[in-house]
Assembly symmetry: C2
Homo-oligomer: 212 residues x 2
DNA sequence: GTCTATAAGGAGATAGAC
DNA sequence: GTCTATCTCCTTATAGAC
């Protein structure tokens, strides 16, 4: 029994360290992107040596893939726990607000792959692709319901709405507003949400921003 | 006189080669991004040796800066030659349509700097910053006129409209639609323009897309 | 001004002691 | 499992012949 406890303890610390590695990778990825994030930095950030890092993840690509999978899992959880009573449009605003808060808190956009190389790398990662497709299915359903309810524009193809929605979660305008404007985070989020769904043109719109 | 002609000829070929280098850099930047574009590739693409490249541009950063400056100059030209009779909103749609066509033709978004490192590099390049500020002034004027005319939402700060507008010119949704949808380029552009200004929510909108 | 050949340094990945 | 020290490859940049 003592032996089992010891193994379990080892496993626990192993898991804890793995989480710490993923946390560090997540933050560094958000800060510097894939190319500029070095394995040396990740190891230094966690406080371990680089070879120890490679005991957990066999390559940089595997490490980044694991970090991205954890991110998508978070998005899946959030979508799963959306209040069923909300309308499709309100749900989408909640999801976008959540994703933007993650980013403004120093995290990654939950569907980045903005660089061709990273996109290709991730599309080869079956675990990642599976989860992304799952998330995409959930959001596709919401879009379909929103169109049927007249809340989303039926003249736009589903894919245009979906990809534009994803793109808003990693919109560079957010970075620029954070850097060069005096607006606080929640104001930025509210503007981005209304800008996404109501557009930039026309008369002032009254919009319910995604609640925390 | 013959000597002068010879000098002039040399200068002409020098200028031609420089343009060829910038063309190659532009295309490779669009394809692979700053980090993955190597000076070897640029030289090979132009058909010259790497040291010759360094006779034209003292560093990779200078080369990319020059390419970006040429890009912004193109945008300034386009904005300068907008039909004065058009409304502010129509002008913005024309500019966005133009920028998206450049990208779908294999070029760069005319205001990228999506990666922190590249952004920092460019903000240190005074020639670049000067031109960007010039472009920003022109567009700010258009935005102000658009708000006054009731064509743009007066409840959104100018900076939100401007940055969102810039961001649409490098929207990753365009890449995803090109890769994963069956839509042709002009349809993608039309959808992106109406999505930007009219939003994703609500009833179908009738929009005049930017004309070629 | 252009080339061949090479320096200098960084980053992913690993060997081998403990 | 973790560390120190090292390998190897790639990329920016340059020296020196022509």
């Amino acid at each position: 029994m003592r032996i089992l406890d010891k193994i379990s303890f080892k496993e626990q610390t192993f898991k804890l360290r793995e989480d710490a590695i993923l946390d560090a990778a997540h933050r560094l990825l958000a800060q510097k992107g894939f190319d500029l994030m070095t394995m040396d930095e990740v190891a230094a950030d966690v406080g371990i040596a680089k070879p120890s890092l490679y005991k957990h993840f066999v390559s940089k690509e595997q490490l980044v893939g694991a970090a991205m999978i954890r991110l998508i899992e978070g998005a899946l959880d959030f979508v799963d726990q959306l209040p069923p009573a909300e309308s499709p449009l309100a749900k989408m605003k909640l999801v976008l607000g959540w994703a933007l808060r993650v980013r403004l808190g120093g995290g990654l956009p939950y569907l980045p792959a903005t660089s061709p190389q990273v996109r290709e790398m991730l599309t080869k990662n079956m675990g990642y692709v599976t989860k992304v497709l799952k998330l995409n299915d959930l959001l596709s359903d919401i879009v379909a319901l929103g169109k049927k309810a007249g809340e989303l524009r039926s003249d736009l193809p589903d894919e245009v709405i979906l990809f534009s929605f994803y793109a808003r979660s990693c919109d560079p305008a957010v970075d620029y507003l954070r850097l060069y404007s005096a607006l606080d985070n929640e104001t930025i989020i509210a503007h981005m949400i209304t800008g996404c769904f109501d557009g930039l043109a026309g008369a002032p719109k009254v919009t319910v921003a995604g609640s925390r």
